[in-house]
Structure formats: structure tokens, C-alpha cells
């Protein structure tokens, strides 16, 4: 399972396929103030990136690569901790 929720933090790890988009969206709808932790995420599917762009949660860490960076550029960065 690539999606874990730990209190106000939603953690995406490893390879996040299109199937993760819906649970992520549900999680973010339920907890709009949640922080999304991407430090362990290797690759996010376009659908997952889209959900992040829509919900615009605070992010911790960014996956490598120009494409995720370009998608998530406008999202706030969560304070460390």
C-alpha cells in the first residue's frame, strides 16, 4: 500500500499508481489541512499529481524529476517536523 494516513499526515511511498488517486482524493477531502509527505515517493502517477494540484495540500519533500516539480511547483511547503 503506497498511501498511509498518520493523523494529519498522508504519506505516499514508493510507486503510486493511478489507483492511489481516488483514496488520496478521499483522504484530502476528509482532511483538507493534512500535510502530504512525499519524501518516500518514487513516482507519482499523473492522476495522483492531479489530485495534489487540485487539493493543494502542504507538501513535505518532492519526488525527483522535472515533471513532478513542474506540477507541484505552486504548492506550499510544510514546515519541518
Amino acid at each position: 500500500m503506497a498511501l498511509e494516513q498518520d493523523g494529519a499526515t498522508i504519506r505516499l511511498t514508493g510507486h503510486c499508481p493511478v489507483e492511489e488517486a481516488e483514496p488520496l482524493l478521499d483522504a484530502l477531502r476528509a482532511a483538507p489541512d493534512a500535510t502530504v509527505d512525499l519524501t518516500g515517493a518514487a513516482w507519482l502517477h499523473t492522476a495522483v499529481l492531479q489530485v495534489l494540484m487540485v487539493a493543494a495540500p502542504a507538501l513535505r519533500g518532492r519526488p525527483d524529476g522535472l515533471v513532478p516539480a513542474a506540477c507541484l511547483a505552486g504548492l506550499p511547503i510544510a514546515e519541518a517536523g
Binding site: H45, T46, Q50, L66, V67, A70
Partner: protein
């Protein structure tokens, strides 16, 4: 099958393969783009759907085939027969895998290896024929107008990377996730990816309503790679991509408000000198220094950053153009944006010099704004600076104005310090073009929406494609068993309604009421009509055009003739003729056998044909037509025909016929001996036909389906095999006959006629009774004897009822005790303990509930 999705995939895959295969043959015949598109679509769909299952080798193979087709479609690869062979073989392999999938739900173990070999072959052609004409797509296109929106740093990196550069925008269609696409991944894997921008196609959907499985992103990407490489990378989404090769110069897009500070003029002068002197380091230093003191958002600042970045590497003219963009001095050939006032919105793309009229309007608008500004009263200290800045703006606008207007303004400018004169000169032109002041500015302000402009083309193309793919007819896939059940009920209704006829008779007998009997008969007529319509309707569901069987022949003929080194033109006629599905299925194998025979034994090699005075290319004609309740299918060739002498000798040699029989036989009868078991005219067993089984197999199969087959041939001119099959096997028309008080059914189509023969006309020849019917001697068989029913009690009747039946090509008279009614019944084969019973083809239920045995005459005689 447990996997419902897979169960759905399999027939679909077969259909797609069929379509691709027939398209391939059509394509080989005539290079039509339509056929190619058809194949491409089929293969592409197959690849897409196969991705849903764990069948990677299949997907890879189809993928490779698709790549090859892309090359063919782009005209980079000629469709050689070898390539068609390769593609067809690959499709066959896929078809084989589909068969295995159907039974075992996994691919065979050797699939991976088989795939690797095939893919290597396909890719081999791809590379061999590939790069030759690859440049054809790289036509010069204007650079996309969204280039300026990419981060400047990325553009500078791209400039440094130098050509080849490609800018492309990609709008994945809404449902792309369902096809397993991951657009971000595709973009991330693009060759030479330098920079990109991701934005919504329309607007970001709101969190509450957004659907996570619909795509709404647009990617604008810059790649340092040859356009061919990028095209290749994006081949599966080519309809969603706009791709344009660009030059590094296209990347220098300067945006931001104009800064008219005097300092830029100074910089311009100095920079030109430095460029001329080749002092790049100083130029860079000067640019950096100036950047330190001005705001970062202006056009000038952007140009300075470019100069700073490129000073070390770029060509002198590129730098000079940038310098011109800074100080506004007339450039030679400027890729710069026209200087717009500080108030105007940023302008996106470099504007070509061809667009004079809008520029003039815009310049006039700027001048009007300047005049307005000058008219506002200010303190004297500021007014000097303001006047100076207006003068700079006016000066820069001059070259975009009408010549006379420019002269007037120039004169006003010459009197420096005279603000009033300048205002007057500016106001002059306000009148002729008052509207110009407002119109163009909003246009410029719309810029952020501009990238959406090329949008409509992609969805439109998508829609038309899916429209064509859906096909004109609305189809329903139904399990054949359901239709068969329906058919059985319909047939039983037909039989059950026969009961009403009995009932009417009984009412008359028992109650003596003719009136009631007649009413029942009227009702019977109504039900009869409805039942007939129902039966016809259900039968129509099961009816299939013979093209279902015929469509495999183009391929078969092509492969076979290539193997045999013959040239054959296949002509198919009457493929719309319809017949019952079961009948057609029973016909498929015999037909293949006959076609192979015709190709192998019938049609000669081109050399032989030419020697015989015939065209080198032989013709094989497959035709179908409907005759009464039968389908007639003919396989005719214009080959060498069958020599009756050869057949006769062979038949005598293997003991099929006796010399006495041979003496009585006509030539066409000899020819038909090829259907006899164990007969093969060609001594040598070839790979294709004559594998120990001969035409007798064909005849058995056809007879089993209730039909017949015969052959006509003319030596040197060709042969024609005719197959006759009943339209449907479900309902059989029978006539009932009586023997020793028992009723039996006989299929109507075997009965030629019924006659009454006086005892005196029955003659005994040796053991056999015979009678003469219209000058022909017909042997007689007594049904009661054949069935072992024993002798009839009492005196034999004066006249015998004789049913003349056609058995094969012979006529036989069958003596029965009497004829009863005709009816339509479903003949059910004997099964269980009765299965081995000889002489009966099955049983049928009568209207009054009795069971009728239906005779199989050939068994009895």
C-alpha cells in the same frame, strides 16, 4: 472462464485480428490509406486492451507491429510482401495465443521466446527502412506562442544546449488513464527533456467535484532532441500532441513591462561596442551590473539576463538583437517585441514585421496615452523627467507609425523641452483613430488564454476516430446457446401448433360440431402464421452472411499461392448470401479443403498456364447464392481440370468400380468418383492437400450437414465443385408413411415423388423387384422388409403405394402401406441406448403427443 473481462477480450481480440488481417491483404493489393488506418486502428486497440491483462508478450508483439505500421503510414517504409508476411505471422501468433488464453487463461510458456523472435524481425525492418526519409515531418512551423511562458532559466539552458530543439504541447485526452496512459511519465521519459510547464487544459476542477480518474492537464515541453526522436516517443498519443521544431532564437522571448530609463540607452551604446570588440566577459559584467540596479520584472531586465547568460557563447548578431531590445534602437532584423508602454500588458510572442496594421494601431494607442499623461498638470521638477520619458516612448513608436505622422512627431521631438508642441502633435493623430485607443489592448491582455487556442483540433480528431471505430450497426453479443434455446422453443411451437389441427379433427369426430372445428382451424391458421414469423425471426438471428466463412480465404489463397509459386486471383461473389450459423460452420473445413485442392491440383504454375495459352494468373472463384431452401456454394478454378480417363483408370486400379460399371458410366460420373473414399488423383502427397484424406471427407462433412456436393470439370478449362446445403437445420419438413400400422417420418427433400403402381407393373429382376417409371427402371424396396416388420396379413393390395426417393444420385422406389400428412418437426437425434440404432436419423414429437421415428433412408437400402 472465471475472468469476465478476459472473456470479453477474447472475442474482441479475434475480431480485431480478423480486421487487421483482411486490411493487410487489402493493403497489399492497393496501397489505400483507408485500409492502413483500419489495420492501424485494430492493432492499436488490441494493444491498448491487451494491456489490461497480464499478457506482456502479446502486448509487446502487437506494439512492435504497430510501430512498423506507423512507419508504413508515415511513408517511411514500403510495404514489401515480406513485411506483410511478417505482420501476418505475428497476427497469427497472437491469434494462437488468444486461443490458448481462452482455454487456459494464461499465455503458453514459450510465448516470451516466440515474441522475442518476432519482435526482433519486425524491429529489424523498422531500422532498415527507417531513417531514410525521416526528415519529412520536420516542416518549418512557427514556434508555439507558449514558449515565453516557460521558465527563463529552462529556456536559457535550452539555448545553451543548442539545436536540435523541439517544443511540444501535449493534452492527454480526458479518458487516457483508462487506457493505462501515464502522461506525466511519458513526458518525464521524453528524450532530451529540458523544461516544461504543467497547466490545466481549461481550469483546475474544484476539489469537491473533481474526478480523480479524468485527466485535465496540459503539458508544454521543451526537448533538446531531434524531432524524429520526440515523434517516435510520442507516437501513441500523436493525436494529442502539437509538436514543432524550433531554433534557439525562438527561445528568446522577452516579457515584462517596458522600462524607458535613460540608462538603457547608455548601455546599448556600450554593449554594441563590446560586442564589436568581442569583449564578451566585459559585456557579461556590464549586463550583470545593470541588472543589479534595475527592477527584475521588465523586458529590459529579461534581455539583460539573456545577455548575461549568453555573452560567453552566443553569436554576435543574437547579442546585438538583445541589445536592441534593451535600448530600442532600430535593429536589423529584430525578434523583439515591439516596445509597449509601461501600462500595456506583456506581449507573448515575437511579432513578425508583416503585422504592420495592428502594430500601428497599438503605437497610436500608446501615443494617445502619452498625450493624456502629459496633459496632467505636475510640478515643474517632475515635468522635465516626464517629458523626457514621453519623448523616448514616442521615439520608439515612430517606426511603427504612418510615415507622414512620424515626420510630424519627429519635428515636435526635435524641439526638445517643448511639451506643448509634442502634445499637439500627439493629439493630431488621436482624431483619425480614436477607436484604436481601446481596441487592441484587451487583445494583448488575453495572452494567458492563448495557449488554449490549438485545443479544439485534438478532441475533434478523437471524436471522429471513435465515431468511425464504433461502426454503423448497433450489435448485441449473445451467447449462441441462448439463441439456440429460443430456436428450439420456436420450433416446438411450430410443432405444438400442429396439435391444433388434430384437435379440430377430433372435435368434428367426437362432438360432431363442424362449426367448432372450423373455428379451431381458424385459430390454428392465426397461430400458424405467428409461429412461422417467429421461426423466421429467430432463424434470421442465426443467419450469418457466408462472408464469415469466405473472409479467411483471401489469406489462405495468398499464403498457399506464395508457397506454391503460383499466381491466383481470388474472386468472391455473393458473400452477402446468408445461411444458418451451424450450417456455415459445418461448411468451413470442407471449403478450405476444396480451395486448397483447387490451388494445389487445379491451377497450374504460371509457366504451364502460359504454355497452355492461358493468362499466367489463374482465377479461383468462390461464389454463394440461395436457391429455394438451399445455399449453393461453388468453388471454381480455371486450372487444368480433371481427366476422366485418369480417374477411371485409378478407380479401376484401386477397385472402386468394376470394368462393367466403368463401361456404363458417363465422363461426369467418373469425375465424381473423386469423392469416393480413399481416392486421390495426385500420387504424390503434398504439404497442402491430399494428406491421406481426400474429397470423401468433404462429402461426408457436407452430407452430415444435410447437403450434397458434386463436381463438374472440363479438361484443360477448370473444375467446379458445388456444395448444396440446407439453409437451416433446425426444422425439417417430413412426410409420414405407414408400414404395418406404424408411422414413420421421411425427410421431404429426399422424396422425389409418390406414385401408385399396379401389381402387374412390378417385375422381378433376379432378387430385386423393379418397376418402370417414365422409361426408367427403378428398383423397389419394401419398407416393412427393411425394418424387419414381417409379412403383411391377408391379400396383397392391387396397387402398391411407392415413394420414389433420391438417395445420392440414384432413385429408389420404397413400397409403403400408405402416406399420411406432411408436417414440420424438429428431428432430435437418437441418444442414450438408442444411439447405435441403424436406420433412423432421429425422433420427432407429433401434435397428438406420439413419438415418430424418422427414417434415414440410405441406411435402410
Amino acid at each position: 472462464m472465471t475472468n469476465a473481462l478476459l472473456a470479453q477480450f477474447i472475442p474482441e481480440a479475434r475480431e480485431l485480428l480478423e480486421r487487421a488481417g483482411s486490411g493487410m491483404l487489402a493493403l497489399e493489393k492497393s496501397q489505400s490509406a483507408e485500409a492502413l488506418d483500419e489495420i492501424f486502428r485494430a492493432v492499436h486497440t488490441l494493444k491498448g486492451t491487451s494491456g489490461l491483462f497480464d499478457i506482456a508478450p502479446l502486448t509487446h508483439l502487437v506494439h512492435a507491429a504497430e510501430d512498423l505500421l506507423v512507419e508504413v503510414r508515415d511513408g517511411k517504409l514500403a510495404l514489401e510482401p515480406e513485411i506483410v508476411d511478417g505482420l501476418l505471422d505475428s497476427l497469427d501468433l497472437v491469434g494462437h495465443w488468444i486461443d490458448v488464453l481462452e482455454t487456459r487463461e494464461v499465455l503458453p510458456g514459450d510465448a516470451e521466446d516466440a515474441m522475442a523472435g518476432r519482435v526482433a524481425a519486425l524491429r529489424g525492418w523498422l531500422q532498415a527502412g527507417g531513417p531514410a526519409a525521416a526528415a519529412s515531418t520536420a516542416e518549418s512551423q512557427p514556434a508555439p506562442d507558449w514558449l515565453g511562458a516557460l521558465p527563463e532559466a529552462e529556456r536559457q539552458a535550452a539555448y545553451a544546449a543548442g539545436p536540435p530543439l523541439v517544443a511540444w504541447s501535449y493534452e492527454p485526452d480526458e479518458s487516457c488513464f483508462f487506457r493505462g496512459d501515464d502522461p506525466a511519465h511519458l513526458v518525464a521519459q521524453a528524450p532530451g527533456l529540458l523544461g516544461l510547464r504543467v497547466l490545466p487544459q481549461a481550469s483546475v476542477p474544484p476539489l469537491e467535484t473533481c474526478d480523480p480518474v479524468l485527466s485535465w492537464l496540459r503539458f508544454e515541453v521543451l526537448c533538446a532532441a531531434p524531432v524524429e526522436a520526440v515523434t517516435e516517443h510520442l507516437r501513441y498519443v500523436s493525436d494529442q500532441v502539437q509538436l514543432s521544431p524550433i531554433t534557439p532564437g525562438d527561445l528568446i522571448v522577452l516579457e515584462g513591462p517596458e522600462d524607458a530609463a535613460e540608462v538603457f540607452g547608455d548601455f546599448g551604446t556600450r554593449a554594441r561596442a563590446l560586442v564589436a570588440a568581442g569583449a564578451r566577459a566585459e559585456l557579461k559584467a556590464a549586463a550583470s551590473a545593470l541588472l543589479g540596479i534595475i527592477g527584475p520584472a521588465t523586458r529590459q531586465a529579461a534581455a539583460l539576463r539573456w545577455i548575461a547568460a549568453l555573452a560567453a557563447t552566443a553569436a554576435a548578431d543574437a547579442l546585438l538583437r538583445l541589445v536592441c531590445a534593451i535600448d530600442g534602437a532600430p535593429p536589423g532584423a529584430a525578434p523583439t517585441v515591439p516596445p509597449v508602454t509601461a501600462a500595456a500588458a506583456p506581449v507573448a510572442a515575437p511579432v513578425s514585421t508583416g503585422a504592420e496594421a495592428p502594430l500601428r494601431q497599438r503605437a497610436e494607442a500608446i501615443l494617445a496615452a502619452q498625450a493624456e499623461m502629459l496633459a496632467v498638470p505636475v510640478e515643474a521638477a517632475q515635468s522635465a523627467g516626464r517629458l523626457e520619458s514621453v519623448r523616448t516612448v514616442v521615439r520608439r513608436c515612430l517606426r511603427y507609425l504612418a510615415p507622414t505622422r512620424a515626420e510630424a512627431l519627429n519635428a515636435a521631438l526635435a524641439r526638445s523641452g517643448d511639451a506643448a508642441a509634442l502634445v499637439a502633435a500627439l493629439r493630431q493623430a488621436e482624431n483619425p483613430a480614436p477607436a484604436a485607443a481601446t481596441a487592441p489592448v484587451p487583445k494583448a491582455a488575453q495572452k494567458p488564454a492563448a495557449p488554449a487556442a490549438p485545443l479544439p483540433s485534438a478532441p475533434a480528431a478523437e471524436a471522429s476516430e471513435s465515431g468511425a471505430g464504433a461502426g454503423p450497426a448497433r450489435m448485441l453479443r449473445v451467447d449462441q446457446a441462448k439463441v439456440d434455446t429460443l430456436m428450439n422453443f420456436a420450433a416446438e411451437l411450430v410443432v405444438a401448433k400442429n396439435g391444433l389441427a388434430y384437435l379440430a379433427g377430433r372435435v368434428e369426430q367426437v362432438s360432431g360440431s363442424r362449426q367448432l372445428g372450423r373455428e379451431i382451424k381458424e385459430q390454428y391458421a392465426v397461430i400458424d402464421r405467428i409461429a412461422q414469423s417467429l421461426q423466421v425471426g429467430v432463424m434470421a438471428i442465426r443467419m450469418m452472411p457466408v462472408s464469415q466463412v469466405f473472409q479467411r480465404f483471401p489469406r489462405l489463397v495468398r499464403d498457399t499461392t506464395r508457397k506454391l509459386g503460383k499466381e491466383v486471383e481470388l474472386v468472391i461473389q455473393g458473400e452477402d448470401t446468408e445461411a444458418d450459423k451451424n450450417v456455415l460452420e459445418s461448411l468451413a473445413d470442407p471449403l478450405i479443403h476444396m480451395v486448397r485442392n483447387a490451388l494445389d491440383h487445379g491451377i497450374e504454375t504460371p509457366a504451364e498456364r502460359v504454355a497452355a495459352g492461358k493468362p499466367a494468373r489463374g482465377t479461383l472463384r468462390l461464389s454463394a447464392r440461395q436457391e429455394n431452401d438451399n445455399v449453393i456454394i461453388e468453388v471454381a478454378d480455371d486450372g487444368k481440370g480433371i481427366d476422366p480417363e485418369v480417374v477411371r483408370d485409378k478407380a479401376l486400379r484401386v477397385g472402386l468400380i468394376t470394368p462393367e460399371q466403368a463401361a456404363q458410366m458417363a465422363p461426369e460420373e467418373f469425375v465424381n468418383l473423386v469423392f469416393a473414399p480413399g481416392f486421390s488423383t495426385k500420387e504424390q502427397v503434398s504439404d497442402l492437400s491430399g494428406r491421406g484424406v481426400g474429397m470423401d471427407v468433404v462429402r461426408n462433412a457436407v452430407r452430415k450437414a444435410g447437403g450434397d456436393v458434386w463436381l463438374a470439370s472440363r479438361l484443360g478449362q477448370g473444375s467446379c465443385v458445388t456444395v448444396q446445403l440446407p439453409l437451416t437445420m433446425a426444422v425439417t419438413r417430413i412426410v409420414t408413411v405407414e408400414a404395418r400400422g406404424q408411422q414413420y417420418g421421411v425427410a421431404m427433400d429426399t422424396v422425389a415423388e409418390t406414385v401408385r403402381v399396379p401389381r402387374g407393373q412390378i417385375h422381378r429382376i433376379k432378387q430385386r423387384e423393379t418397376f418402370v417409371l417414365r422409361d426408367a427402371v427403378i428398383p423397389l424396396v419394401r419398407l416393412a422388409d427393411s425394418l424387419g416388420l414381417g409379412a403383411a396379413p391377408g391379400e396383397p393390395p392391387e396397387e402398391e403405394a411407392v415413394m420414389v426417393a433420391r438417395i445420392g444420385r440414384e432413385r429408389v422406389g420404397i413400397v409403403v402401406d400408405g402416406f399420411r400428412e406432411r408436417m414440420e418437426v424438429i428431428v432430435r437425434p437418437l441418444d442414450g441406448l438408442l444411439a447405435g440404432l441403424v436406420g433412423f436419423s432421429g425422433t420427432a414429437l407429433l401434435g397428438d403427443g406420439r413419438v415418430l421415428l424418422v427414417l434415414n433412408l440410405p441406411d435402410l437400402i
